[in-house]
């Protein structure tokens, strides 16, 4: 149940998703990855990808125009 953070602040599409995919591949089942983003499109495509892969996703707006996406590796 390790927790990892991924800083994608200032990164435009599609960099946050690519970084997430790369980082996520190395995680174990049950681990949580927190992706920090400030690009509104990443708020759409990162959760979409994670949900399609069957992981648990939660989004939180941590500041004005800044979000944290929680992804729990389910399999």
């Amino acid at each position: 149940m390790a927790e990892y953070r991924l800083d994608c602040l200032g990164e435009a599409c599609p960099v946050p998703l690519l970084k997430t995919q790369k980082k996520f591949a190395g995680l174990n089942v049950g681990d949580v990855l927190i992706v920090e983003i400030d690009h509104s499109c990443a708020m759409k495509n990162v959760p979409e990808w994670a949900r399609k892969e069957g992981h648990n996703v939660e989004i939180e707006e941590t500041g004005d125009g800044e979000w944290e996406i929680y992804i729990e590796k389910a399999k």
Partner: protein, 222 residues
């Protein structure tokens, strides 16, 4: 060993950070939009309508995260085709709408409204160049403008060079036109095939593209 919590619970217990209340700014901007619209309406109704449509397009673009760049980039890069399908649907709806407008105008004996641009190699080359540019800069024309308004500052840089490039292109346009575009001509499907066949052919091709995009999106799931 900590007890197992779901992601949802974890988010719920996190302390929230203070956010600025954006409501006052929203009210000021809305009033500004209305006032400016009324002002434009005083000059000409067309200007006011353009203003309202412009604002509406912006809101739809921002809220829907509609992105032409992602529509063409994501199938290759991430395997997602949801925006590709959205663009195909948009083109299909526009085809029917423009078809109706054009049909109405032509049957009344008027000239064909809208642009029928010349087709040739220049389109393919230009599209490839634009495609490379929009993926690197993170947005096409509409996407860049939308994110400029959203406050994503990297796109402010994109906008500056977007404007510079457009001005440069417009400056030399007659030279490019004389070399590449003159001599090619446009194809207006309904004028060549007739209205029913033209529209049906266009929608069939779009439908096939949609099925293809859907298959591609699901294929990557495994």
């Amino acid at each position: 060993m900590e007890t197992k919590t779901t992601v949802t619970e974890r988010v719920a217990v996190r302390p929230g950070r203070k956010k600025k209340n954006q409501l006052p700014a929203a009210i000021v901007v809305l009033l500004g939009v209305i006032l400016f619209g009324v002002m434009l309406g005083g000059k000409s109704a067309g200007l006011a309508i353009s203003w309202i449509f412009g604002i509406a397009f912006g809101i739809v673009l921002q809220k829907s995260r509609f992105c032409f760049t992602a529509a063409f980039r994501d199938p290759v890069l991430t395997g997602s085709t949801s925006l590709t399908k959205a663009v195909i649907i948009a083109v299909a709806v526009a085809s029917v709408g423009f078809g109706a407008i054009q049909y109405a105008a032509v049957t009344k004996g008027g000239t064909l409204p809208g642009f029928v641009s010349p087709v040739g190699w220049h389109v393919a080359i230009g599209a490839l160049m634009f495609g490379i540019g929009m993926v690197i800069s993170g947005g096409c024309a509409s996407g860049t403008l939308m994110r400029v308004g959203e406050g994503f500052m990297m796109q402010w840089l994109s906008l500056i060079f977007f404007v510079l490039g457009t001005l440069w292109g417009a400056h030399d346009y007659s030279w490019w036109k004389s070399i590449f575009i003159d001599g090619t001509s446009g194809v207006h499907l309904p004028s060549v095939l007739g209205w029913p066949l033209g529209i049906v052919l266009q929608l069939t091709v779009l439908g096939l593209l949609y099925i293809l995009a859907d298959r591609w999106g699901n294929r990557q799931k495994s």
